[in-house]
């Protein structure tokens, strides 16, 4: 390839980087000032693009296009302010995870809002009036609009830089980023500052989206795609650092452009198509950066670790009534096949719920007691499911050994990725686990020879006596209950206490001789083992596996289940997974807008009862006990 071609691809990368930077800059600002990890930030970008499309197509002409971009950005900024005042403002003192859950709920609601307003079809905007053609550079034609974008990115960075360094607003932003208490001490109206920052961030995302109008169709999947990319950029650059975000956006866009430019290469006689690497390039970059520089390229370690709201109550072993209740519930579940002879679907749904429960419990094991907020837990579920499916269909192993391979695979994956991830904390840990999960997903997705590629693997059915619906349900019940008991026993054991010790106070834990890294690493591995086991059940329940089970969406579903149930209750993941799975099955059959319904329910829970469902039940119980004479 010629040098000109390479340089030219560099220009393409720069054009691509601009929007990425604008969206990521907003995310970074909001995190810096409010410490909120805003999952709905990608939705602002998506809405900006949709709004610009509507304005450009309905008004038409240069005014509709350029004016539309401005209006769209401002409108999205206004929406951001409204959401901040209406919802997020109530959550600044809530634990980080509930803020996360509520921004996830906002994401769900905004997605269905877009579906309602614009319908489900992709909408590509018109070409930019005045910039619809191309200019010739290096003997090649380069779209003039892309030149405009290349300039827009640094201009926005410059404007932001001036605001942050020169204005009073900017000084407050910096002060809040470095020390939140100080802002309160300065007598600043903190609420107003937060609203303003949130609106600015939303407007930046909206602008980034609107500017894509002639380049990219507005689609309903943009929000999740963009939020993933924006997180990658923000984290690679260092949370809270605007120049870092700019640098990271360019780095990632250029690496992708380079992969596309190189295309087919031959390494040691193996033909590789690097253009396929763009599927996962940014996540590989993020993983490498976080391993080498745990706080990103230009990031600094957090000044002080934030207290996560009210800490949980001490663990109490179950009393006799609780044990009796558990046995009774178990007996009912075991008898379900008898009761459900007339409606076999009950067993099918119940089996799916059991699998979700085991998966959620394994995630809760590290999220709650160890405080390790993994955003990529589906990877271990997927590894387990694939290991089982491969063992059955390719190696011809019988069911028993195939099921044992799954926890091994899940555990091995968790051992490898956990070794890097557990060293980090907070957002950085979440993002590194996410990156690893995406890498696992892309391997499952592309290794046609072993994993069947995007289609997956078929024909992993259970053997007798588990081949009937009732038989498999009972197997799933047995495995899940055994898994839950094992996890529970571990939580009450010295090891489980050491997990919490390492979460409560790493300083104290180390000072009494507890190796926090070793304990949390092993916890991560155990979580991978049980997620893998749940994956094995999944493979046999469906008879097939495909890459979706290791996707971001699956990981996010797991998070939602745990948070819905309540992260500080051992029953939380059980209740959360059951409610989530049942709701999605039932509600999705009756309305197109079931995600918005789910988001609404989550918001209600978070605003009214920020301890999740089980937190609410616990509070109710305490209230009743107090009320008793």
């Amino acid at each position: 390839m010629s040098l000109e071609a390479l340089l030219f691809q560099g220009l393409n990368g720069l054009a691509q980087a601009s929007t990425l930077f604008m969206v990521a800059a907003g995310l970074s600002l909001v995190f810096g000032v409010t410490r909120i990890v805003n999952l709905a930030h990608g939705s602002f970008m998506m809405l900006g693009l949709y709004a610009a499309w509507t304005l450009a197509t309905s008004l038409g002409g240069a005014l509709g296009f350029w004016g539309g971009i401005v209006v769209a950005a401002l409108g999205v900024g206004l929406l951001g302010a409204v959401l901040e005042v209406a919802i997020l403002r109530r959550l600044y003192r809530a634990p980080e995870l509930f803020q996360l859950l509520s921004t996830f709920a906002i994401l769900l609601v905004l997605n269905d809002l877009a579906l309602f307003l614009w319908g489900p079809e992709d909408l590509l905007g018109p070409r930019a009036p005045g910039l619809s053609g191309a200019v010739t550079i290096l003997d090649r034609r380069f779209p003039s609009y892309d030149l405009f974008l290349i300039a827009a990115g640094p201009l926005v960075l410059l404007a932001l830089h001036l605001v942050v360094t020169r204005s009073r607003f900017g000084r407050l932003i910096r002060a809040a980023t470095e020390d939140r208490e100080m802002v309160g001490a300065l007598g600043v109206n903190q609420a107003l500052l937060f609203t303003a920052v949130f609106a600015l961030a939303a407007a930046l995302a909206g602008l980034g989206g609107a500017l894509q109008l002639p380049r990219q169709p507005a689609t309903l999947t943009l929000d999740l795609e963009v939020i993933a990319d924006a997180f990658v950029v923000t984290v690679v650059g260092g949370m809270g650092s605007l120049p870092g975000a700019f640098l990271a956006a360019i780095l990632i866009a250029e690496i992708k452009a380079l992969c596309i430019a190189i295309g087919q290469v031959s390494v040691f006689g193996v033909a590789l198509n690097l253009s396929k690497f763009t599927l996962v390039a940014e996540f590989v970059v993020m993983a490498v950066v976080l391993i080498v520089r745990p706080y990103g390229l230009l990031g600094r370690p957090p000044v002080h670790v934030r207290e996560g709201g009210e800490p949980e109550a001490p663990l109490r072993p179950a009393g006799t009534p609780a044990r009796i209740a558990a046995v009774a519930v178990l007996a009912c579940l075991a008898a379900l096949p008898l009761a459900a002879t007339g409606s076999p679907y009950t067993l099918v749904l119940a089996t799916d719920i059991l699998i979700a429960v085991l998966f959620a419990a394994s995630l809760h094991f590290i999220m709650g007691p160890a405080g390790l907020h993994s955003f990529g837990h589906a990877a271990y579920f997927g590894l387990g499911a694939y290991a089982t499916a491969i063992a059955v269909t390719r190696l011809g192993l019988p069911m028993g050994p195939a099921m044992l391979i799954a926890p091994t695979a899940g555990g091995a994956g968790a051992a490898l990725f956990g070794w890097f991830s557990v060293r980090l904390s907070g957002v950085y840990l979440a993002m590194l686990t996410l990156a690893f999960a995406q890498i696992v997903w892309s391997i499952l997705y592309q290794w046609e020879g072993l994993t069947g590629g995007s289609n997956g693997i078929f024909g992993a059915w259970p053997a007798a006596p588990f081949d009937s619906r009732a038989g498999f349900y009972l197997l799933a019940l047995g495995v899940t209950v055994a898994g839950l008991l094992a996890l529970r026993t571990a939580l009450f054991s010295p090891f489980g206490y050491a997990m919490r010790a390492g979460r409560d106070s790493p300083l104290r834990a180390e000072a009494i001789g507890i190796g926090v890294f070793r304990v949390h690493w092993l916890a991560f591995i155990l979580a991978g083992v049980f997620a893998g086991l749940a994956g094995a059940l999944f493979a046999f329940a469906k008879g097939s596996v495909s890459p979706e089970i290791a996707s971001i969406a699956e990981s996010v579903d797991g998070l939602a289940m745990v948070l819905l149930g309540g992260v500080h209750s051992l029953l939380g993941p059980i209740v959360g997974a059951s409610v989530f799975t049942w709701l999605s099955d039932t509600v999705s059959r009756t309305t197109d807008y079931w995600r918005a319904a789910l988001g609404g329910i989550i918001l209600l829970i978070v605003l009214v009862q920020p301890g999740g469902i089980m937190g609410g039940v616990g509070a109710l119980g305490r209230h009743l006990r107090r009320a008793r004479p």
């Binding site: 393409n12 007339g342 999944f538 008879g543």
Partner: protein, 401 residues
């Protein structure tokens, strides 16, 4: 329309919950249909309309075996795991006699696997993957739409006639794209032995960096391009390619681009001269299509897309198959479908006994711009049997039942 179907589905779900479904199974035949409605609306909304039209026609003509046809639809959430559960629900709770539908290849394959396991009759209407009827084929699964292999094969005459020797390939990075590219390379080698592949670009599905991809292709200086991108990726690729002059001197053969679902959104950007597979609904001059077109426009006040034809033909196939079998027993249905002849808007088709693939074909033609809109011109219908490998060839590809 979508809302109406949702209501029907909701009512059906409610009925099923209350145990009413079982009683009504006596006088109706239930088709359990599942698809990625929310993920692929551009194709599937017209598809749903096509089904509705066919059901209405069948029932107005007295139903099948004297019983009414009833459809219960489910969204599979574009997720194979959920799709299998939806299939279970359709069969066990709704009492579906057959299942049909699916768009995405991985979901089609997962449901096909389920059908084989539970011995349920499954008519896969849309998924394109060759594996569905070949490598992973099974007794209980049939497929209506022409497969990836067939559609690529339809373009080979044009590829050869273009005289291009330096080919660039661009396709979405998943099984449909990779297998389309493989088929193209294999068939090209047979037809034009001295042709070479100068670059292969496989951007992520729904995630193309169109500028970079177009540039990389231009830099490899091809004289022919094989494209398998569709939907949003296609729109971006076409726009960037035109701005950058990629298509000016290059022959392009392109899968699916002539389908109204993907052609209409291109609007004034439509690249003229591309040779594409598709469905030129406004210019097909056959009595069977004219009748379908009139009925469809009369009922829905809009023009049909390819999805409409597929949805319509799905129901017509099922009706014909059940009529021929004389019952909804899966074994009888499979036997009836092997060699079943069905009348469709594209003319008569047959479900081949060897690989359970229908011989439904597609139209191949050039793209042109008429009144600011894309249109297929100089097209011809290529029947499925003309591009399918011989029955004994495909038999070797399928696993034994």
């Amino acid at each position: 329309m979508n809302a109406r179907f949702a209501r029907v589905a909701a009512a059906a779900a409610l009925a099923g919950t209350l145990g009413i479904g079982a009683a009504s199974a006596q006088d109706t035949i239930t088709i359990g249909e599942l698809n990625s409605y929310k993920a692929i609306p551009a194709f599937l909304e017209p598809y749903q309309k096509g089904m509705e039209l066919a059901v209405a026609e069948v029932n107005e003509a007295g139903g099948v075996l004297g019983r009414e046809l009833r459809i219960v639809t489910r969204d599979d959430g574009a997720n194979p795991g959920d799709a299998v559960r939806a299939a279970e629900e359709l069969v066990t709770r709704e009492g579906a006699d057959v299942i049909a539908g699916t768009f995405l290849s991985n979901i089609g394959l997962a449901v096909s696997e389920y059908a084989k396991r539970r011995k349920v009759f499954f008519l896969a209407s849309e998924p394109l993957t060759d594996k569905l009827t070949w490598d992973n084929g099974n007794r209980y699964t049939f497929r209506l739409r022409p497969s990836t292999y067939m559609q690529v094969a339809m373009l080979m005459d044009a590829a050869e006639a273009s005289g291009a020797k330096r080919w660039a390939l661009v396709y979405p990075n998943y099984e449909y794209g990779t297998s389309a590219a493989e088929t193209f390379k294999q068939l090209l080698k047979e037809r034009v032995p001295d042709a070479e592949i100068v670059t292969e670009q496989a951007p992520p599905l729904r995630g193309i960096d169109a500028g970079s991809v177009v540039q990389a292709i231009a830099d490899s200086q091809p004289d022919g391009i094989f494209n398998a991108l569709f939907a949003g990726d296609l729109s971006q690729f076409v726009r960037e390619g035109q701005t950058r002059g990629l298509f000016d001197e290059t022959a392009v053969v392109s899968l699916l681009t002539g389908e109204p679902e993907y052609l209409d959104p291109l609007g004034a950007d439509t690249p003229t001269g591309w040779v594409v597979t598709g469905y030129p609904w406004s210019a097909i001059d056959t009595p069977e299509h004219a009748a379908f077109l009139a009925a469809y426009q009369d009922r829905f006040d809009t023009y049909p897309r390819l999805g409409s034809v597929v949805g319509y033909a799905t129901i017509k196939s099922l009706a014909a198959g059940i009529e021929k079998a004389g019952s909804t027993d899966p074994e009888a249905l499979v036997d009836a479908f092997e060699g079943l002849d069905v009348e469709t808007p594209f003319g008569p088709i047959t479900y081949r006994p060897s690989d359970h693939q229908s011989t439904m074909g597609a139209f191949v033609g050039h793209l042109d711009l008429v009144d600011g809109k894309g249109q297929m011109v100089d097209f011809r219908y290529v029947a499925g049997e003309d591009v399918l490998p011989a029955e004994d060839v495909v038999k070797a590809l399928r696993p034994a039942d």
